[in-house]
Symmetry: C2
Subunit: 191 residues, 2 copies
């Protein structure tokens, strides 16, 4: 079994957790959906929570890689990339299996701030925040920390809204808002 069966398990489990939720997904369902026996699962991961953590790690890597690459394709200046992030969001929202942000959902289901799953989700958002703040600084914003935080606010608001109203429209409103905030932070005059 050289072709990594463990990674395959995590990848499939990620799909199911994302689609159906964490508590709503039992290990028996995972046996069926992943094609991996329960015995093997518990040989790779001591508990269900450990498997969830592995799935979240994979999600973190996949999402960030996709997002950063997509943004880099669309723009090559810091200002441009800050705005392009919202176009990338819009594309994401239109995907068939789009179900919102896995990390927001993880925090919804594991609410204690000191829970490992909660903390891992928080780490993902922290990394995104640092990336956005870095772009804000590179763009020359007056208060990069504030602008970066605001960009993240808009993104998360757009994600939540897109799920609630079942539409990709919030990505556009968020992009327009981001443009105004960016112009203001760079000292440009509003139209």
């Amino acid at each position: 079994m050289r072709p990594n069966k463990k990674d395959e398990l995590v990848s499939k489990a990620l799909e199911v957790f994302y689609r159906d939720g964490f508590h709503a997904t039992g290990m028996d369902k995972l046996v069926v959906e992943t094609g991996v026996s329960k015995t093997s699962m518990y040989k790779h991961f001591r508990t269900k929570d450990d498997l969830i953590l592995a799935a979240l790690e994979l999600r973190d890597r996949n999402f960030r890689e996709w997002f950063l690459n997509r943004v880099a394709e669309m723009a090559d200046t810091p200002e441009g990339q800050l705005i392009a992030g919202f176009d990338a969001l819009a594309e994401w929202f239109e995907e068939d299996n789009y179900r919102g942000c896995m990390f927001i959902k993880a925090c919804s289901e594991f609410q204690e701030a000191d829970h490992p799953i909660h903390q891992q989700a928080a780490r993902h958002k922290q990394i995104l925040l640092e990336h956005l703040t870095g772009l804000a600084k590179a763009a020359g914003a007056k208060d990069p920390d504030c602008l970066g935080s605001q960009m993240l606010l808009l993104k998360e608001g757009a994600i939540v809204s897109s799920v609630l109203i079942n539409s990709g429209a919030p990505a556009r409103d968020a992009k327009a808002a981001a443009q105004v905030l960016l112009d203001q932070a760079l000292g440009h005059q509003a139209a």
Copy 2:
């Protein structure tokens, strides 16, 4: 049993669902936490989902009443109220038992768009959106629908961020962003 035992049940159940989540809260836990027998519960509500719906209805009423009153206390112009909403959020974030938005969490746990619980959560957000859009229109915004949607984006982003980083700070960044967007929508010059 005149003093409405049913309302008491819903109110207590709301607390527990908000604190621990929906799937993570079993009916047996509710028996202990609410002091109401399981038989009585199932006399009032045919299923657990029905009880969840009742809890969400109560939450919807409570939250909107609190929010609207608090905002009205803080400001009496449409522009002022749009901004004051973020001060109200900040107060909410500082509450001891603050656990984020119950409706976002409901949608996280009941993801199918046609699920009654999902739809009820969506209705709550829709009402808030209409309220914000109304304020935007009354304030004389160029595009009230867009501005209202953006205010909601910022609010939801602030809620999610406040949970993830376990801090009330996002309310301030959201307020600052809202001020910039409002000024721009009203045709004011940025600083």
